[in-house]
Symmetry: C2
Subunit: 300 residues, 2 copies
């Protein structure tokens, strides 16, 4: 590209920090904003400019990347000034996990101002974000995709085009989180059954990951569900709940009964009720263990 | 080993045929029995001896391998003559997927006759059985394990010792089938949601298996759930139902609530009610699609 893209990156959580750092490494001119300024310090040290608001971070006609927590937050950023400032010729690359309908509404809101919109949610935990090893699914206006891909390439190990309806990228992402959550819940249930039949949880997990389930998702979750303790927070439980709710809402809108999604929504809700929203989402295992009369703290 | 083991193999279904063939290849003296004699023909051609009953297949003091359909069938084989004939010094290698309690009862029944019992259920579809690529989890009396391992090595790519309580091998196997069934059900639900949001099922499956779920279980099931059609029967739906029922029974006995197992039991039961017991167990996707108003035959 002849010109150097001016990129505003809003949302420097566990994922956003690593993603923004990779845009810097790719040589893009990066301005960042986050509710908590402290989270921007490492990026500023690496050459990013700080802006006091999302709108101030935006260059008219440039690119706005959002990696904020939820639908409400994306809407606040876009409609609170950043979207207006982006204006004609600008591109909003919307990378949060949000509802397909929110994405479609944002597309329409931007289109009325001559702004392009590409939904590009990602798979991968924070370590993958930092290592530019995310997987991206993206969808939106075809003419805006080459600009989007320059950024996606810098942040990921692969980006897959899901067509022109941005909502389709979001539904695929929601389905992916649903599939991972079902693996977490099924491991919780199975480990409780194994334990109460005398099988050591860790031995059981080691067997699974050495044989039929020798796969990254099981390697990530089997040990922390066996231990009923996560040293690191890869994805906050309260955000997991948000996604289970989005799945249920999306399923209701599409008239697709999803009994597993209903179970998961309640499991996450019960975990929130017990004050576990800031833990890693794998820690729904605590509620599952308690239901089975297992003391989650007994092993430590 | 100095002496050549006399092995009776009972149960020549989709799995048993391949497993027995690998015992022959390993040079063991094999006598086979099955309700339907036709299924023994290839093995007899390869050197196995046919016996008209399970009891007739057994050499006193030898090894009896059972790979029959369910708890009832194992009990019928053992208590219908084969167990008595096996007698003192014999070994029953019980490889079917059965309830932990059935296994523990069989252990006691044999012990009263001086017969050893090792539970050794397996993971793997029929192609893996034929290629000696199964995974085995085994448990039972330690003194009987060297004899068991000679056979397990010939049939598998790895055998894992789960201790002296045979029920523990069976509960691990049940948990494994439960984990695979949850992946099947979650793929059914997710693909229905994706489809009703405009995403092509096959494209969605290809994305999953190319990225976060680039793993054998997903590679096996994503394409046939996308197509809502299985060319080959890897595991019959009616046997899947049996396992979901065993899981539920085992969970009830251990007082472990397993909401996913309850959903699965009903999903399989509904599929049986619709006359689909002889299909591959992935075809619970038909009932899931019908519930979502999707015509399973529309793509063909």
């Amino acid at each position: 590209m002849a010109r150097k893209e001016a990129v505003a990156f809003v949302g420097l959580g566990l994922m956003g920090q690593g993603m923004a750092a990779n845009l810097l490494k790719a040589g893009l001119a990066l301005t960042v904003h986050n509710r908590t300024e402290a989270k921007a310090r490492a990026l500023m040290h690496a050459g990013a400019r700080w802006a006091g608001s999302a709108a101030d971070a935006v260059t008219p006609g440039g690119i706005l990347v959002t990696m904020v927590a939820d639908d409400r937050a994306v809407n606040e950023v876009v409609k609170g000034g950043a979207g207006e400032r982006l204006g004609a010729g600008g591109l909003h690359l919307s990378m949060s996990t949000i509802a397909p309908e929110t994405s479609r509404e944002l597309r329409d809101w931007h289109a009325a101002r001559g702004t392009h919109y590409v939904a590009a949610p990602v798979f991968g935990r924070p370590a993958a974000a930092a290592a530019a090893k995310l997987w991206v699914m993206y969808a939106g206006e075809d003419s805006a995709k080459p600009r989007a891909r320059e950024l996606l390439t810098a942040m990921s190990q692969g980006a897959f085009d899901f067509g022109t309806d941005p909502g389709q990228a979001n539904v695929v992402k929601l389905c992916g989180n649903f599939l991972i959550a079902t693996i977490i819940e099924s491991l919780c249930e199975a480990m409780n059954l194994a334990q109460k039949n005398g099988v050591d949880r860790e031995t059981f997990g080691d067997f699974l990951t050495a044989t039929v389930f020798n796969t990254p998702v099981f390697h990530s979750y089997a040990p922390i569900i066996a231990a009923m303790h996560a040293e690191q927070i890869g994805f906050e439980l309260k955000l997991g709940y948000k996604d289970m709710k989005l799945i249920r809402d999306c399923a209701e809108r599409a008239a697709v009964p999803m009994p597993f999604a209903s179970v998961l929504r309640d499991r996450f809700l019960s975990s929130l009720a017990k004050g576990r929203g800031d833990m890693d989402w794998s820690q729904i295992c605590l509620a599952a263990a308690e239901e089975a009369g297992i003391d989650p703290g007994a092993g430590r």
